[in-house]
């Protein structure tokens, strides 16, 4: 059963059909929410809210890219959650050392396949990138996440964030420039793979 049929089934009251769509898109939705929110619990809440909202607003879907329509709901849910958290600040649960100091690195759940050194480097880099994304204004953040993190094209991104194509281009350029400036402080963390030589740049 293709996407259109599942949507129609869901509109006819078949919750299982909608849940098939949820299972198909939940990783993407959670990733986008996590990169926008920067925190797993908040991302989980926003993702769940987004799927509930998507089901309730399914009549408003007027064809076109369902992925873009869903991602718009996800980004809006993230903005709502961010605003709610700004009004009622939530203290993140962080692991504490025996002396009471809080670990700076939030990625305390380590990947068992990586060596301890690699794991620390990876976590540090991921954290640095995420912090740079977090510094961005919401409207720049969503465009950067959708295009550079999730690899969506400009058209789908424009549909997802509800802005013209030109706005997407300019927001993306400014967001990239901001992250570039932000990451300069962490440049030593970047592995050789990301350090392009002049020939590759051409």
């Amino acid at each position: 059963m293709d996407e259109t049929d599942l949507i129609q089934e869901a509109l006819d009251g078949n919750l299982d059909a909608f849940n098939s769509l949820v299972l198909h898109y939940q990783d993407l939705a959670y990733n986008v929410a996590y990169r926008i929110m920067g925190e797993p619990d908040a991302a989980g809440d926003a993702t769940q809210e987004a799927f509930i909202s998507a089901y309730e607003k399914l009549e408003q879907y007027r064809g076109g890219s369902f992925k873009a329509w869903l991602l718009r709901i996800v980004t809006n849910a993230c903005y709502d959650e961010l605003r709610r958290r700004q009004r009622q600040p939530v203290t993140a649960l962080k692991p504490e050392l025996s002396n009471g100091d809080v670990l700076e690195d939030p990625y305390w759940i380590e990947d068992p396949s990586a060596s301890p050194e690699e794991s620390i480097e990876q976590e540090a880099l991921q954290k640095a990138i995420q912090e740079c994304i977090n510094e961005l204004d919401d409207k720049f953040k969503s465009v950067l996440v959708l295009v550079d993190v999730e690899g969506l094209d400009y058209e789908t991104t424009a549909e997802a964030v509800g802005t013209p194509l030109g706005t997407v281009k300019s927001r993306l350029a400014r967001a990239r420039e901001h992250v570039q400036g932000c990451l300069q402080g962490f440049w030593e963390l970047l592995p050789d793979l990301f350090r392009l030589n002049d020939e590759e740049a051409k």
């Binding site: 959670y30 769940q48 509930i52 089901y55 399914l58 993306l172 350029a173 570039q180 990451l183 002049d198």
Partner: protein, 264 residues
Amino acid sequence: MSRKKRRNKELNMLSAYLDDELNPGDRKQLEKRLDREPVLRERLDNLRRIKIVLGSLTRLKAPHNFTLTPEMVTVRRKKRKPLFTFLRLASSFAAILLVLLVGMELVLGGFGVRERLMAEAPALESDAAAAEATPEPLIIWGETASGGAGQKGDVDGYGGGNGEESESLEYTEPEQAAPTEETVEEGILSQEMAEEERAAGEAEEAPILGLNPDEGGEIVARSEPAQQERDEAFAWRGTVRWIEIALAVIAMGGGVVLWLLRKR
């Protein structure tokens, strides 16, 4: 154009160039500039690095399934189109009516029409045959009595005779005598008796069995009411048949259209 604006424009073009979103003209122009401006190329390289770094971010899997349960949302009821609902109701109603009608016809034998017609048909045929075989009227006015017992005599009444000759109706005037009180009373009584007899005679001359003697008094078995009833029965049966056909068309047509709508 201010320096800041020019710089922003260059940044937008470089970013779009990275994603291959520039039109061919702008792309060609930018590539010429990149060849002769190392600073611009350096900016492009930095943007490219950022794009690669961002793309290297770990793809996270959802920590759990975000599937919905009926408790989380109000499961919508299936919305049916008005035409769909109308057709469904109409065809169902027509089918039920058709079944009832056919069932009643089977159980009641076509509302008793068939049996009545079958029972009447031989009777009517025998009546007609009898009428042809014995052209004598059943009731004849003004000739002989048709009474069950009496055949003899010249009687005005119907079936009153018993075979004896009736007395002469000649009336002789009684001798005139001086009227006494007795004779006066007898006279009054005889007048009253005469009036009663006259009234009885008039009553006997009145039409019987709803027949009009003015028509000539000759009635042979009439078949008009039976014919009329038979015509009505046929008409009623024809109407029922047409209703059954119409119901069958509605039920089957509705079903076909519903099936086509569902398939679409």
